[in-house]
Symmetry: C2
Subunit: 391 residues, 2 copies
C-alpha cells in the first residue's frame, strides 16, 4: 500500500519547477508571489491571453481536462498544483505514480471533484454537514418528496453555481437533474463562513482567521466578505475544529478553503471544500502577514508555514462585470477608489468583460470595523466594470 | 518655452502601455505590483534571462544605452520609466518631444545622470550638500591639495561604487580620474539616511518615513537598513525638508530616493539622488501600506498617491553573493530564515551568482525594534548565497 501522506524531504538547493493547471486570477496572484522565491513556473491553460500567461516563466497552451495534455505538461516539472478543480484526475494520478508531487494530492482531489464522495467523506469522518441522499438518477429523485426542502447538486461537473438546483416543492423535483447527484437537506442559513487551512508537507497546520460572507438581502449576491467574521467565540471554535478536521482527514499537503454554514441555534456545517487557494482568501494578500498564495508556495517548496495572523481587519469586494456590457473592460471609478486610504485594487487583466464575470477585487484594511463597512459601501457604489460594447 | 511640469489628464479608461528600461530586480518588483493594475508592460534589457523578463507582457532584447534601440522601444508604449539611470537620454528626449510620458522626465534625469549638473542643481536650489569643485581633468585635480580630504566622483558613468575615489592625501591625487568630475569635501559622517519621495503628475507629494543605513564597522559593508531611522525629530524634519526640496525642484513626476548624510553637529546633507525606485525602499513592500513600486505605478497611471505610513517598523538585509562562489545560486539557510516570524524573502531570480552581486533581500517587520535587530542578526548569520561553482 502506498503511504497516503508521504514525508517529503525536498532538496532545497535546486530550483524547483512548478506547474500550475489553470491560468485564471488565482494563478496570476500565485505567480505574483512566486516571484519572491527560487521557483521556475509553468502554466497550462487553453487561452494564451489568460490572466496568468504573462507572469510565468513558461506558458503551455492546452486543455487542463485532457489526459494527454496534462500528462505531457507534467513532464516539464517536479511539482504541480491546480487553480481550479476541473482538471484531468487520471493524468495527475499517473504523474503522481511517476513521482511528481501534486498539491493537493490526487486522493484529496478525487474526493473533492465528486460531490457524492465529498459528502460521504464528511459523514465517514463525522464532520457536520447537511443531511443528504445519494441519487443515481431522476427516478430516485422523484421518490424524495419527504426530504424537501433540499438542494440537488450534480456529482461531477458543477462549478461556480452551475449544477445546483433548489428543490422547494414536489413540483421542483420534475425539473431536477437525471444524473448522479446528491440531494442535500436545506439548512436555515444564519451565516456563511470560510476558513483557509494550510497543511504542510510534514502535516504542520496553519489556520487563517475565519471570513464571513455578507450578502445583499435584495439581490442575493455576495456583497463583500469580512475578516475576522463577526461570530461568537463558541461558533469560531466549532468552525475552526471542523475546518481542521476536513483538511487533516483529506491527508494531503496544500491549501484548503472550507466553506461553512451556521444556523440560528449555533450549529456549524461544512458546505463544501476547495482544495486550493480560493476567493475567500484573497484579502490575505494585504490583510495577513502571510497570504494564502505565500502559504501554498511555502508548502510546495518545502518551507515552514507562514504567519496566518491578520495585520488588520479587512473587507473584500469582488469586481463583477456589469450587466449590459461586454468587450474590452473599462474600470469606472478606479481613481476614486484609489483615493480611499488602504484600499488595494487587484485587476485580473482579463481581456474581455461579461455580465457577472469576476474581473478583479478590492481589499480594504482598517482597525475600525465601522470604517471598513463605510469604505466597502463607498467602493461598491463607486467602482463599476463596464465594457466598450454596450448591449 | 515648454512647460517644465505639464498637467496631465490621462484617459484612464484605456489600457496604458508602460515601457521599463532595464530588467533587473527593480523592474521585477515593479512588475509584481503592476499585475494589480490595468497596464500593459514592456521591458527592454540586453539579457533575456534577466529578473524582469518573465513577468512582463512583452520583452524586447536591446541595449538601454543605445539611441536607436531606446527610440524603437519607445514606439510600443505611451509611458516609459527606468530602473537604472544609465539609459540613453537623447532617445528619451526625442520620445518626450513626440509626446511620450517619461518618469522621471528627461530634464530631471539629465541633471541626475551627470554628477556635475547634480551638484550644481543642489547649490542652485540652496540644498545642503558637501562643498565641491568641478574639475575637467587631472591638471585641475592636482591643484586641489588644500581641499582634501575629499571624494572624486566621475561626472558620468559612475555606478554602484564605480567611478568614485577617496582622496585623503596629496599622493592620492596622482591616482585620480583625468575626466570631468566633481571633487567633494569629505563629511565626517554620523549617519546615512534615505528618504523616498513620490511626486504625482499634478505635483501631489508623498514622503516615506526615513530609512537609516547601518554599516558593519569591521567590513564597511551595508549591513541592514532600519525604518524608521533612529534619529531625533529635528534631524528628521531637516531630512524631510531637504528631500522634498530635491524632489520638487527636479520638477518631474516620479519616485525619488534621496540619500542623505548627517554629521555629529546636527547638519544634514544630500549625498545623491536616484530618480527611481531604489534599494533603500524595498522594505516598503511589506512594511508600508503603499510600497514604492505601488507608488510609482499610481503616478504613471495617473491615480492618487498611496498611503506612505509604516505598517510596522522594519529592517532589511541585502542578500549578496558570497565570495568564493559563482554559477547557479544556492540559497543556504533559506528554510531557517522562513521560520522567523514576519521575515519576508525576495529572491531576484538571477541565473548566476557572483561575489558581491545583489541576489535578493529579506525584510523583517515587528513592533519591537530590539526584536527586529535580533532577527536581522540571525538572518545575516543564517542565509548565504553560494554558487554551484566553488573557486
Amino acid at each position: 500500500m502506498l503511504p497516503l501522506f508521504a514525508i517529503f524531504t525536498i532538496q532545497r538547493t535546486i530550483m524547483i519547477r512548478l506547474g500550475i493547471l489553470g491560468g485564471g486570477q488565482l494563478g496570476r496572484m500565485l505567480l505574483q508571489q512566486a516571484a519572491n522565491y527560487p521557483v521556475e513556473t509553468w502554466v497550462m491553460e487553453n487561452d494564451e491571453n489568460c490572466p496568468a500567461a504573462s507572469l510565468c516563466d513558461h506558458f503551455v497552451k492546452g486543455d487542463i481536462r485532457d489526459f494527454d495534455a496534462v500528462l505531457a505538461f507534467g513532464q516539464h516539472v517536479e511539482s504541480l498544483t491546480i487553480e481550479i478543480e476541473n482538471v484531468n484526475l487520471k493524468a495527475l494520478e499517473k504523474l503522481e505514480a511517476e513521482g511528481k508531487r501534486i498539491y493537493p494530492n490526487t486522493r484529496a482531489l478525487g474526493i473533492i471533484q465528486n460531490k457524492i464522495l465529498q459528502k460521504q467523506f464528511y459523514r465517514e469522518h463525522e464532520i457536520p454537514t447537511a443531511a443528504f441522499k445519494v441519487l443515481q438518477g431522476k427516478d430516485e429523485l422523484m421518490a424524495e418528496g419527504g426530504f424537501l426542502p433540499a438542494v440537488q447538486k450534480l456529482a461531477v461537473g458543477g462549478y461556480d453555481g452551475r449544477g445546483v438546483l433548489m428543490m422547494r416543492t414536489e413540483e421542483d423535483l420534475g425539473k431536477g437533474f437525471d444524473e448522479p447527484s446528491v440531494l442535500e437537506k436545506m439548512i436555515r442559513v444564519h451565516k456563511e463562513l470560510a476558513i483557509i487551512v494550510a497543511i504542510g508537507p510534514n502535516r504542520e497546520q496553519g489556520l487563517f482567521p475565519p471570513v464571513e460572507m455578507v450578502f445583499d438581502p435584495m439581490l442575493n449576491l455576495l456583497d463583500y466578505q469580512i475578516c475576522p467574521a463577526n461570530i461568537p467565540e463558541k461558533i469560531m471554535w466549532k468552525a475552526e475544529a471542523i475546518s481542521l478536521s476536513v483538511a487533516r482527514n483529506l491527508k494531503s499537503p496544500g491549501v484548503f478553503a472550507v466553506e461553512l454554514l451556521t444556523d440560528d441555534v449555533g450549529n456549524v456545517y461544512v458546505n463544501e471544500t476547495a482544495p486550493r487557494v480560493h476567493n475567500s482568501g484573497h484579502h490575505s494578500i494585504e490583510g495577513n502577514y502571510s497570504s494564502q498564495f505565500d502559504m501554498l508556495l511555502r508548502i510546495i517548496l518545502g518551507y515552514p508555514l507562514g504567519n496566518t495572523d491578520n495585520i488588520l481587519p479587512s473587507m473584500l469586494l469582488n469586481l463583477i462585470g456589469e450587466h449590459g456590457y461586454e468587450g474590452e473592460p473599462v474600470y469606472e471609478g478606479l481613481e476614486d477608489v484609489l483615493k480611499i486610504e488602504n484600499a488595494f485594487v487587484h485587476i485580473y487583466g482579463k481581456r474581455e468583460t461579461r455580465p457577472g464575470r469576476k474581473m478583479g477585487h478590492v481589499t480594504v484594511i482598517s482597525s475600525d470595523k465601522r470604517d471598513l463597512q463605510h469604505k466597502a459601501n463607498k467602493i461598491k457604489h463607486t467602482l463599476k466594470v463596464k465594457g466598450i460594447i454596450k448591449k
